[in-house]
């Protein structure tokens, strides 16, 4: 364990640790563009120049392993002058189009200019012209002039996805980042290149021009797009959620997440949501009537459940452990219902895995569901069992904990017909869909960003999510639902 002293602070680190990493552990910032912990070392931006005592030449912190007794300075005059010049070399051909650049506010050129710059530029020559707004497929836009050629995105597609779409072509200041012949960058991890781009060269088609980043706040969450449970941070404001980006968790997702997972937020925002109770009223010739207070609806549903002898409970693996606990406590513990069914989505590809992060089980909590059912001794049937029972007219009423993310339930629409055969369906759903109109009750449920709880991922890791934003004021979770029903049915919780 060699000991290194950086700006007077010492730390023992594992042999082979780079100076930049040691500085990170000491909370000492070292400017950098090309270095990224999840990628190989390029050593090209030359921003992380530091001084090592007894060495007249400045070294780059990213490629310098710590040696015993090394004394490093990151903030003396010599280093600051060198870093300022490295920054200026990045800026001399940069278009400085911050006002129209989506990266503004979270751009490392801006950040370091505040730290090292604040000078009068001396570049008076013509700038290198390159292409702007180059479309690289469905998700990513490239601005070659803004690109500082740090090669992070190239290394990502070479080393992580091994899809090799991106390259840096030509030499010197004619070098351009591109795909070959501007071919699409359509791998399912493409937006990671946008995340790791330290400047506005790669931007997300989905996110760009929607919000200035200084109007957004981030909260931590866990992706509910599949059973991997990638750690994410979600950007939001009063108008809703705008983007999902990965958060580092070396045990779960490393530094990355898939593009599919980034779309999950779309089912969270108001326009996709069921915002109030919808009830099919026989007394209005089967028309849907909106607006009954949730508490009142639960009371009526509770009575219905109490009276019903033919009750089925159908669950998906999209809810938290805590919700399942409350839900099964009511239906199994109190009501002794024995008819439970698990609705498994994508059955054919359920076990598949893309080799990086994305799993065929497109639910965040399959293991949580299994664990909780086991705890209550529930032996649930599968879809085919449910279907068979419906055909045999075994049920009159079903309570369905329906999927929050409809997109990952491709069989959803075709299965609605089975539910429609029942007289009464209590459809618990966070999303709005015209095809649910035949169900007796639709109850607005919270999405994963509006509730706290636990997901258990594919390998059994328990991860907490936290209620961080309110989008649908009337939405409830399964805990609130179970409490409301318990009260109505008259069973103590």
């Amino acid at each position: 364990m060699p000991k290194v002293t950086i700006n007077g602070k010492s730390i023992d680190v594992e042999a082979g640790t780079s100076v930049i990493k040691a500085a990170q552990l000491l909370d000492i910032p070292i400017a950098h563009y090309c270095w990224h912990e999840g990628l190989s070392v390029a050593g090209a931006c030359r921003m992380c120049l530091i001084e090592v005592e007894k060495n007249p030449k400045l070294q780059i912190a990213c490629n310098l392993p710590v040696t015993e007794g090394m004394i490093v300075h990151t903030d003396n005059e010599k280093v600051r002058d060198a870093v300022k010049w490295s920054l200026d070399f990045h800026l001399i051909n940069h278009p400085l189009d911050c006002p129209i650049c989506d990266q503004a506010g979270e751009c490392k050129l801006q950040d370091y200019y505040m730290n090292y710059g604040l000078y009068n530029p001396e570049m008076a020559e013509r700038k290198q012209k390159k292409n702007k707004a180059v479309s690289l497929g469905d998700r990513v836009v490239l601005d070659q002039e803004r690109c500082i050629l740090c090669s992070r995105c190239v290394r990502f597609t070479n080393e992580v996805t091994k899809t090799y779409e991106l390259g840096i072509f030509n030499r010197g200041d004619r070098s351009v980042l591109s795909t070959f012949e501007n071919r699409p960058l359509n791998n399912n991890y493409s937006l990671n290149t946008v995340d790791i781009c330290p400047v506005g060269a790669l931007t997300s088609k989905d996110f760009r021009f929607k919000q200035r980043v200084w109007f957004l706040k981030d909260f931590d969450s866990v992706c509910n797009g599949c059973s991997t449970g990638c750690n994410v941070k979600i950007s939001y404001n009063n108008n809703g959620v705008f983007r999902v980006r990965p958060r580092v968790n070396k045990e779960i997702n490393g530094f990355w997440m898939c593009d599919e997972g980034r779309d999950v937020y779309k089912f969270v925002n108001r326009e996709y949501r069921l915002d109030q109770v919808v009830e099919r009223r026989d007394d209005f010739a089967g028309a849907s009537v909106k607006g009954k207070p949730v508490a009142l609806a639960l009371q009526e549903i509770g009575h219905k459940i109490k009276d019903s002898q033919k009750l089925a409970v159908v669950v998906t693996a999209q809810y938290t452990v805590e919700e399942y606990e409350a839900f099964f406590e009511l239906f199994s513990g109190k009501l002794k219902s024995t008819k439970f069914y698990v609705w498994v989505n994508n059955e054919e590809t359920f076990e598949s895995f893309d080799g990086l992060l994305l799993r065929g089980d497109k639910n965040p909590n399959t293991n949580g569901l299994i664990k909780t059912m086991k705890k209550f001794g529930i032996k649930a049937g599968l879809w085919k069992d449910f279907e068979a029972a419906v055909v045999k007219n075994e049920f009159q009423l079903a309570v369905v904990a329906a999927p929050e993310n409809q997109n990952v339930y491709p069989e959803l629409n075709s299965r609605l017909a089975t539910f429609e055969k029942l007289e009464d369906v209590v459809w618990l759903s966070s999303c709005v869909n015209d095809r649910f109109k035949n169900f007796r009750w639709q109850i607005p449920m919270k999405s994963y960003v509006e509730k706290s709880g636990t997901f258990i991922n594919f390998k059994g890791v328990e991860q907490k999510i936290k209620a961080s934003v309110k989008i649908i004021p009337d939405a409830i979770d399964l805990i609130q639902l179970s409490a409301g029903l318990s009260e109505s049915i008259g069973v103590a919780r």
Binding site: Y164, E165, L166, G167, I168, F169, N170, R171, T179, F180, E181, R183
Partner: protein, 157 residues
């Protein structure tokens, strides 16, 4: 139009793929071979090589774009590359190049109307002691003089 490599070129590339420790080392030889066949390297040629060698097109293109000897634009049958670096410049290489362009009535990098010549100024060719000099296709021509230009061009009929 779909391009294809002649059988001999394919065989050559397959041999080069096995010649070195890794197949990527065969990229430069393959690009030279393709240039010999097609005259210049177009995106179609890059795709063709990528397929033939099972190397991503982006990698082929990166290598192609890095080196100056691969033609990005069409060149004449005789590519006259005049060195204009320091030693040559001091003994009149730039004036020589201008004179050749004037004689052929082209600007640098253009192809003459008959498709025969392109004149390009290039960096040091390692013939500094015999300047001015020019590389025409594979061969060096040294100790050139403006007064000999007509006779010099005669060689390339």
């Amino acid at each position: 139009m779909s391009l294809s490599l002649p059988a001999a070129s394919k065989a050559y590339i397959q041999k080069e793929l096995k010649r070195y420790e890794t197949k990527e080392s065969a990229l430069i030889p393959a690009l030279f071979e393709a240039q010999k066949v097609f005259g210049l390297i177009t995106p179609d040629v890059i795709d063709l090589l990528a397929m033939e060698m099972d190397i991503p097109s982006s990698r082929v293109s990166e290598v192609f774009n890095f080196y100056t000897m691969f033609n990005k634009k069409p060149v004449g049958k005789y590519h006259i590359q005049v060195c204009t670096n320091i030693s040559c410049a001091m003994v009149g290489a730039r004036e020589y190049m201008q004179a050749v362009c004037k004689t052929l009535n082209v600007k640098s990098d253009e192809v003459t109307a008959d498709g025969k010549f392109t004149v390009t100024g290039v960096e040091c060719l390692g013939s500094c002691g015999t300047a001015p000099m020019a590389q025409v296709n594979d061969d060096y021509h040294e100790n050139l003089a403006v007064s000999d230009i007509p006779k010099f061009l005669e060689k390339f009929k």
